[in-house]
Symmetry: C2
Subunit: 189 residues, 2 copies
DNA sequence: ATCCATCTACCATGTGGCAGGTAGATGGAT
DNA sequence: ATCCATCTACCTGCCACATGGTAGATGGAT
């Protein structure tokens, strides 16, 4: 369990690919531009990822893994589940802060019809991870340990939509405003 | 002011392009496949639309025009604004019913960074049309004629998100479930 | 000497777009 | 009524470029 000191090429590719996919989608992701940003030649990317589908799946997988880790940090930092829920929108806000980027999996959800199976699978897991986390948090708030998954899905969908809208206007304040409306309406804690 | 009896080629192209763009986005839209579906050659499409950007803009424009018309029908059929609001989600549900298609402008919002200016403009108008309609309806419900636009934007974003999520699972029931959650939470009338 | 990481040099296919042509309809001048 | 110019609604054929992907060489580290 050693620490990987330098970000290997594989990691650099993965990071650059994530950035690109968040901006241009799976379809808009291409080896030439990706390689150039990393500082290697396109053919070299194939050394790490045998096909575009493999790269896409790896990117999506890493994406939900990272998000899951972020979510777990929120829960650890906030024993009070209501505070955890309050901080949930941060996850989506950060993408906007970070170069007005969309949630990778929102973009890929839109591209659903053209996605290789392996990629589709990872994208689905992203949703599952989010809904499961929300479900747990909401259940803890309610006391009941049953089926708050309906509410969880609604929150996830609503915040995804807010991010999509805010990003198309390049307007983080709009995101905050919509989230505030959700709070006022009582959708969030 | 005569009636255009048969749907001209231009109309057929527009319709097919809308279908394609809803499934594959602006990026995934291409002249070869489009022309084949219409039953003409790719070059012939240029007779009606001088460039892909023009076609994309025309499709997006027609899309918000049609949506605006649908929204107006709802208002005419429902003098009670609360009933109008209640029926709003239908607009997005119909896309799912109709071949599990996404709102054209949701897809294009995701592709925002790669869109020609002319297309971007039309996509923005789609949002404006929806928010304006919601704003009017909500104001009528509240009695106040002021700034319910915050709530309007929230509703639009939330329903967009619900559609995106439901479509990525090809599950209309999921859409209905999320909308129901919005109602329970009090986001919708 | 071998392995690893990366390179050069390709290829097949797909794409937006352009040049130029053409059968048939239209419509005014004679 | 006929001729001619023009327009409509397509077509064939092509180009330049981008794309995913492959084969084989190169050179440094061990």
């Amino acid at each position: 369990m050693g620490i990987t000191v330098s970000s290997s090429s594989r990691e650099t590719i993965l990071t650059a690919a994530r950035r690109a996919a968040q901006a241009h989608g799976y379809n808009g992701l291409n080896f030439r531009d990706l390689a150039e940003e990393v500082g290697i030649k396109a053919a070299s990317v194939y050394y790490y990822f045998p096909s575009k589908a493999d790269l896409g799946a790896a990117v999506a997988r890493r994406y939900w893994e990272d998000t899951k880790a972020d979510l777990d940090v929120i829960r650890v930092e906030n024993p009070d589940p209501l505070m955890s829920l309050r901080r949930y929108p941060e996850i989506f806000r950060r993408s906007l802060e970070n170069g007005n980027r969309l949630c990778l999996c929102s973009f890929m959800s839109a591209e659903h019809d053209d996605l290789p199976e392996a990629v589709k699978r990872e994208v689905q897991i992203f949703t599952d991870v989010n809904v499961a986390w929300l479900d747990t948090v909401i259940s803890a708030i309610n006391g009941t340990s049953l089926s708050s998954s309906g509410r969880a899905r609604a929150i996830f969908a609503a915040i995804s939509g807010a991010q999509l809208m805010a990003r198309s206007r390049s307007d983080i304040a709009l995101f905050d405003e919509i989230i505030e409306s959700y709070r006022e309406a009582g959708l969030l804690g």
